[in-house]
Symmetry: C2
Subunit: 164 residues, 2 copies
Amino acid sequence: MDSKTSTFKQQKIAQFEELCRQQRLPKTIQRRVILEAVLDREDHPTADQLFEDVRNRIPGVSRTTVYRGLEALVQLGIVRRANHSDAVARFDGNTDHHHHLVCLGCDRVTDLDDLKLDPIKLPDGRRRGFEIADFSIHFEGYCPECRRKKSKALSPRAGLRREK
Amino acid sequence: MDSKTSTFKQQKIAQFEELCRQQRLPKTIQRRVILEAVLDREDHPTADQLFEDVRNRIPGVSRTTVYRGLEALVQLGIVRRANHSDAVARFDGNTDHHHHLVCLGCDRVTDLDDLKLDPIKLPDGRRRGFEIADFSIHFEGYCPECRRKKSKALSPRAGLRREK
DNA sequence: CTGCCTGCAAACGATTTGCACCAGC
DNA sequence: GCTGGTGCAAATCGTTTGCAGGCAG
């Protein structure tokens, strides 16, 4: 929205085009729009949500194209797969270092950019021969909405049903 | 295997029976065995792997029962869903505080019990009204196996295909 | 031209659901 | 006996694949 965000988006798109050139991949409108759709969202949309978003801009796209485009963007390292506990694939245009707030009530995941946390000593790197490149912290707790529900009804732990 | 592990298992099972009593749920053999199957594994098995394990002990079980049993155990808070990036559900009998090593090459997730990390200051708890109950750190990197592959071929980033 | 990308329809695999029956309490 | 668990088969849902064009380089 503001210029900062906008610049970020520009950069990502430039990065995408750059990679296409490097790898001699045709840069199609579809994939550009798919990337834009991911970048336009703050949350971690599912492939289907993105399909809807893309379809608003390119009425004829097929679901397959969106799925394949997303996969391609992941391969290029421009977007990330976001791992929620539901079974559907989710994507995240923010490939920078950031952390997550995971709600134990509704399973929603929000990004957390507070980086006072960063100076954690990346430890035991070579433990078990594992080479650590980065890390992110999952904070588990309850989002405002679920806190309210929780205080009202201590009981049932609204099932882990999928959101739709 | 050793007495410590064994005790842990006992406790979990006791906890399960306790919860069944509290909530007036019948405690069936199937669910007990499902729980045991989860506890007997160190990794994060898929529902289908657990189905196989359970079937070895109760030849007649249906896949449905295992799925439903696992769901029930998750609801009871005895086992956790483990979030990998592949599309299949995975489960984890270790509900204690622990961290994860996530391989960017093969997406495998391993538990990390090194708790020198624990004294991290749980910060900004009330940020956005989010109530933080716990946290876990995802270390992203490359497991020994993928490091080897990576050093040989810098190129293709073996696709994110499912393991089977 | 050549190769990757697209769209469609069909296939697929994991998970869920409806229903009749059976088992704990 | 009532309630919830089980097993089976069918349905569902997200995702992938095969194939025939189409388009970017």
